[in-house]
Each structure stands twice: as C-alpha cells, then as structure tokens.
C-alpha cells in the first residue's frame, strides 16, 4: 500500500502578505486572506462578530441620515455628534439633544426638549475625553465629558444625579483660545486640545485638574513647527503627532522644565483617529505603515519599526489613498485588539474595509506581536469603546447613514450576512517538488452554533494547468449546548472543539485551503487542521 503521510498545522500568525510564495510554503499557519476573521487571543482564527443596531429592532437614528461624526460611551449610554447637534441616549430609541443652553443649574430630561439649542454649525469629526473629577466637579456623578468637534467651541457635558430628577449640563468654553478644538486628550491632570482650524500647530493645556479653564494656573500652550494631526497621552509625555514629524511634551507640570522633544522628524502620522494605546505602547498609522511609538523612538524611520510589515502591501494601498478615507480606530481590550477602519464615503457599504490587529505571543519566540486580519462590509464613521454601566467592555460605532451600532455583537452586519474568507498560503507538505494526492482533512474547529462553511482546495498556486476541485461543504459540525441555553429536543451534543473530517480530492505539489461563507451563523474558530496525503511522483 502507498504510504499515507500526515501533516498538521495550526492557524496562527494572521495575514502575511509580504513574504514571497516560496517562503510561505513553510509557514502554513499564516493566511493570505483573512477577511472578517480575527486572530483569537487563545489561538486560531475566529470569524468576527457582527454588529447590531443600538436599540435593536426599535432603534432610531439621532438625526436622520446625517453621518455620525463622533461617538463615546458615557454614563448609562452613549453621546454622539451629528450634523450641528450632540445627542445622548441610553437605549438607542430615544435620543436627547444635549447641546442646549442648560444654564448653570442644568435641565432635567423633561426640560431639555424645550431648552434652546446651542447649534454647532462647524461640527466635524468629533473627539471626546473624560475628566471624572475636575476642579469644581469633583462629585459629579459620571464625570465631565469634553467634546471637541472642530471649529466650534470646546464643550463640556455632564449628567448630575440619577433618575428622573437628574440634570443635564452643557457648557461651552468661550473665554479665548482655544476658540475651537479638534483633537483632545487628558494628560497629567490637564485637558489638552488642538484647534486645527485656527491654530493647527498649537497644543493648549488647561489648568491643573481643571478642564474648564485654559488661562489659569498650570495652563498654557506650546507650538510645534508642523501641523498637528493628533495628540495622545502616554505615560509621562503627551505625544504630538504631526503630518511630518512626531514630538512629545514632557514635564507639563513643571514650568521650569516643560519641554518639547522630537521623537522623529522623518515621518509623521496620517490621521489622529488611528492613534490608540495597546500593549504598553501607542500604535498609530504613520506615513510608512502602522508603528508603535516605542519602536519609532528606538529606530526612527527604519521600516523595521513598523509592526505591520506583514500587511505592508495592504497598508501601501491605504496610504496611497489616505486622503479618500475616514479613519476610525479603537481598542477592544478583552480581545487584545486594535481595530482600524478606513471608510471611503464614495463607496458602497459592502465594500468598506478595516483592519484588526490582535496582540498575542508569537508561538516560537514568545514575544508579543500583532497578528492581522481584515474586515469587509463595516462602514464606520466614528468608533469608540468603553465600559457600560455594569463595567462590561462595550464598543459602539456610527455610520454614514446616521445609524449607531453596538460594535462586535451579533452574527450579522445589522441583518446582512457576513462574507468571510480564510485562505492559507500554498503548503508544500515538506517537499515542493513532490506530487501528492490529498485524501482527507481533519479540521479543528470551535463552533459557537450552526455553521455553513465552504472549503475550496487549490493546487500548485491555483495553476490553470490543473483541474482544480470545486468548492465543497465542510459539513455539519456538532456544537455544544451550554447549561442554561440548550433546549431539550433541539440542542445537540457536541465537543467544544470538535474535529471535522473533510474528504479531499486532487493532487499537486502544493495545496492551499480556503474556508469561506456568506451567512448569518454564529462565529466559529478554526484552530488548525490535519491533512493526510500520498506522495507520488516528481514529474
């Protein structure tokens, strides 16, 4: 009998679009396509969750079809900026306009509709930043949310009290500079803002512990020689991301030593909306790819500093057309994930794209590294993560049509089936010159419900010189029912991580496997697979 040989690989490493095909032959764990998948922290590639309307079936839009300009979890709900207004909602059904003349005493929810609006006619992309106990508001119930929306006055919103008697407070900063605010950050007891319209290279910082005053003790401003595109506090420095350089403001609380230091003058940041803190570092989209600030400080402009070299071809496309995109990013902490969405407002919903980077230890070296995947069909104009009233991490995003969604939830994209694809590189099974006939695959999969995965095997780099197998069904995978969720007579028995046998056809010197589908089924995680094959000839 011919010798039936085994081959096993795990699914890890995420996308690798940079390595040449022959190098990839020996790295079967990575993916060439990993669309609408995420690298699971616990290993494997997991099809992502969908997103659901905030407010579910009764959800309403804050202000018709106007796009969501900013979003932030606050108190028991979310604050969103739309058109010339700012809204607050706790259920996604009723939206309360909060940019109102609430006076110093505030207004109750019942009074708010009749209260005069303070329109924000120049509202653009919004950033919001909380100070939970600033001077004068140390006992505020939920903290003070600073709202920066461009060439409108910097505003502060807070809710005092609870229940029906609680009051809503909206204050705008009109004392002087900054006269507007685009980027905002809470750093070392100061609220720091950049007015990109009137003073695009200046960082203003407020009084100590006071986000309501930019003229008193501890306040001030610094100027850098480039246009600022974002600011972010990280450890003891405020990093100032410019279009062609990066600086950091240090010693903000010591007037004698406060200083601007140059991190790099050789590259800049593409968009301040890409900057996030994750894994003890700052990640941002630089002009040559995604970078960490620590890496950039160490090796400046050398490409080695990028943490996205495995998806560099993809990033090059993004960078080449960066002016066309609306960037939005967030960190999903319980997944160690950095998510970056780049939405082209001219494109259809289904073509909108994003990146997911999961920080997890490298299997061989043990060092933490980002492993990447992509999204398709998630249109994001604003995105934020935070904690809900129960302390659970929750993420929200808004789209160009004015909808607000609970991000990373459900099994569809608001009712639209999720299109997903995971494709391995060509695998040579140890010998790139030897023909093999594949017999079957044992797929290690963790289903979270019913699934309908398709498998397409292609041989010899999908060579047209071979008759390639047709796409086939992976077949039913029994999934476990959990106590409290299983229904007698309906729920099935199943292993948490079942092994699914899939018979294969065809032969070649190498083979690639593509798992795909378009459905509304719950997610699943592919953790690896085992292949049996018969080696044959070297023709």
């Amino acid at each position: 009998m011919p010798e039936l040989l085994p081959y096993t690989t795990v699914s890890s490493g995420g996308l690798d679009l940079s390595a040449p095909p022959y190098e990839l032959l020996r790295t079967p764990n990575v993916a060439l396509l990993l669309n609408n998948f995420e690298v699971a922290v616990s290993g494997g590639y997991r099809r992502i969750n969908g997103f659901t309307l905030y407010g579910t079936t009764s959800a309403t839009r804050p202000e018709g079809a106007n796009k969501i300009l900013g979003i932030e979890p606050y108190a028991l709900g979310v604050v969103v900026c739309v058109d010339t207004s700012v809204y607050y909602s706790e259920d996604g059904i009723t939206w309360l306009q909060i940019n109102k003349d609430t006076t110093s005493g505030g207004k109750t929810a019942a009074q708010m509709p009749a209260t005069a609006a303070l329109d924000r006619p120049n509202q653009g992309r919004a950033q919001m930043k909380m100070m939970t106990a600033p001077t004068g508001r140390t006992t505020t119930t939920y903290g003070v949310l600073n709202v920066a929306t461009g060439d409108d006055n910097l505003a502060r919103f807070r809710i005092e009290g609870t229940g029906g008697s609680r009051t809503f407070h909206w204050e705008e900063y009109t004392t002087g500079a900054p006269t507007g605010a685009t980027y905002i950050e809470n750093h070392e007891k100061h609220m720091c803002v950049v007015d990109s319209v009137n003073a695009p290279s200046t960082v203003y910082y407020s009084n100590n512990n006071d986000d309501s005053d930019y003229t008193g003790t501890g306040s001030g401003s610094i100027v850098v020689p480039e246009k600022i595109v974002g600011i972010k506090s990280f450890r003891s420095a405020l990093y100032i991301f410019c279009d062609t350089a990066i600086y950091k403001l240090v010693n903000i609380n010591d007037a004698s030593t406060i200083a601007i230091e140059t991190v790099t003058a050789r590259l800049g940041c593409v968009s301040g909306y890409t900057i996030q803190e994750i894994g003890g570092d700052l990640i941002f989209l630089a002009t040559d790819g995604l970078r960490t600030i620590a890496g950039t400080e160490r090796i400046s402009d050398v490409e080695l500093g990028t943490l996205s070299h495995k998806i560099q071809p993809l990033l090059k496309d993004i960078l080449d057309d960066s002016a066309d995109f609306t960037f939005a990013s967030t960190v999903i902490r319980n997944k160690n994930q950095y998510r970056l969405f780049y939405t082209n407002e001219s494109n259809e919903y289904v073509t909108q794209k994003g990146l997911i980077g999961t920080l997890r230890p490298n299997l061989e070296t043990g060092t933490m590294a980002f492993e990447w995947s992509t999204t398709l069909g998630i249109e994001v104009s604003a995105l934020a993560s935070g904690s809900d009233a129960g302390g659970e991490e929750v993420s929200y995003h808004g789209d160009l049509d004015g909808y607000v969604f609970t991000h990373d939830s459900g099994s569809t994209f608001n009712g639209t089936n999720i299109v997903y694809t995971y494709q391995t590189p060509d695998i040579d099974f140890g010998d790139a010159g030897l023909g093999k006939t594949l017999h079957y695959m044992l797929l290690s999969i963790k289903p979270e419900g019913a699934q309908d995965i398709k498998l397409k095997v292609s041989y010899d780099f999908n060579s047209p010189s071979l008759v390639q197998p047709a796409q086939q069904d992976v077949g039913t995978v029994s999934f476990p029912s959990y106590y409290g969720t299983g229904v007698y007579g309906t729920a099935t028995y199943g292993s948490i991580t079942p092994i699914k046998r899939v018979n294969l056809r065809g032969s070649g010197t190498s083979a690639a496997f593509k798992f795909s589908g378009v459905d509304a089924n719950p997610p699943f995680t592919i953790t690896g697979f085992y292949i049996t094959f018969v080696p044959s000839d070297r023709r």
Partner: protein, 254 residues
Amino acid sequence: MATTYLAAVNMILKELNEVELSSGNFSSAVGIHAYTKDMINKAYFEIVNKEEEWPFLIEGDPEEPEMGSLYIETVVGQKWYKLKTASADIRSDFRSVDWDTFYLTEYGVTGASTPYITGELHFISTEMYKKYYRDRDNQSLYAGATTYDTPVRIFRSADSRSFGVSPLPDKVYRIYFSAWVQPTALSAHSDECVVPDVWMNVLYDKARHYLWLFKKDMEQAREAKADFKEGLAKMRRNLIDSVPDDMLDDRVRY
C-alpha cells in the same frame, strides 16, 4: 446504456482520489486529467489489439441470415472488389476480415428469382490463384461474357484492401462476409465506449495500471495489471472462444 468517455475517465479519477471532470471542462483537461483521458484510449486499444474479432467491433449486422455482416454485389466480368468501398486508404480499412465467411448468393439481388444460386467462396492464396486460375480467368476476360461463370473462390490482393473472385462473375451476386472495423479513439465527453459495460472493468484495470505507474505506485500498478490479465482472459472466453460442438459428461455413476 453504454459508458461514456467522461464516465470512464471519472471512474479512474475517483479511484485515484482526483478531481472529476465535467462535460464543461472535459475538452480542456490538462495534467493528470488529460493523461487519464489518454490512458483510457490506450487501455481500449490494448484490449482491441489483443484479439482481432471482438464482437463489439464487427461491421454491419452479424445476424444476417447469410452468416456475414455485410455484402458486396459483383459486377459482370469484374475480378477485384474493395473490401471497404468507402475507405480512402488502409488507415480506414477494415481492421480484419474473416476469409472463411465469404458466401455467394443471388438472394436479394434485383431481378433474381428462386431457385437462388448460393455457395461458399473458398479462400485461396494469391500464389495458388496465379498458378492455377489467373490465366484461365484472363482468357475468359478476353473471350467475353459467354465464358463467365459463378465464382467459387476468392483471394486477397497484394495490399490486402481488395479481394478477387474466380471465375469472373457472369451476373450480379451478393458476396457476404464478416469484417471488423478499426477501433476509433474516444474524443468527445459523450463518446460511448463500445466495450460492453460488464467488461469495462477490464479497461479500467488497464487504465489504472498506467495511472499508478504515472503515480509511481508500483504495487498498485502490479495489482491492476494482474487484474487486467485475468479480466481479459475471461472477456476473451466469454466473447470470442467458440462453444464446443459436443459435450461429454464423463461422470460415472456408482
């Protein structure tokens, strides 16, 4: 229903765990799929070449009452007749002819009436014809129709494409004989294999032999070859070997 070329090829591909072909990609098959197509034809020719008189290759209707599958009508005074009149050259001639089946009859000839003249046409060698009959037939030809007669023997032309009759025919007769056509290579996916379905496994065995050789699996190739030899012997016994004229029961009752 006869097995189509596509079905035969897919039978082998399935055994090899290869992707099956469809009618859509059959003609454009490449690699091992094209090779499998070739090997089905090669196996077919291999079977055909083992015997001359496979019944599935006979020309015409072998159930003719004259025991031949086809006939040629003679022309008064004409000695030579092409075995396959429509054939342009030897590549499209009959693959083989059974020279013992030639039979002459008036039955079916226009204007003929009972009692019909009939008779076996005996095959003689060309040498024999030249030695004993050629000169007489030539004299007859020179003398004219009055000397023609009913042919009683046949002989083969030097190029084997024609047969001659002697004496020269005095009227129109039908000469029946059995012949087998050349095998035609399968080409289109819907082409039907002429080998009876029940014996297709013999063809598959030979094709598998070639494919396993291609795959460098000598053990499987050897087994397929042994299966082929055994199957071919059975096929020959069933389809060609004569049934004995007499049967004898030699058991002894005690």
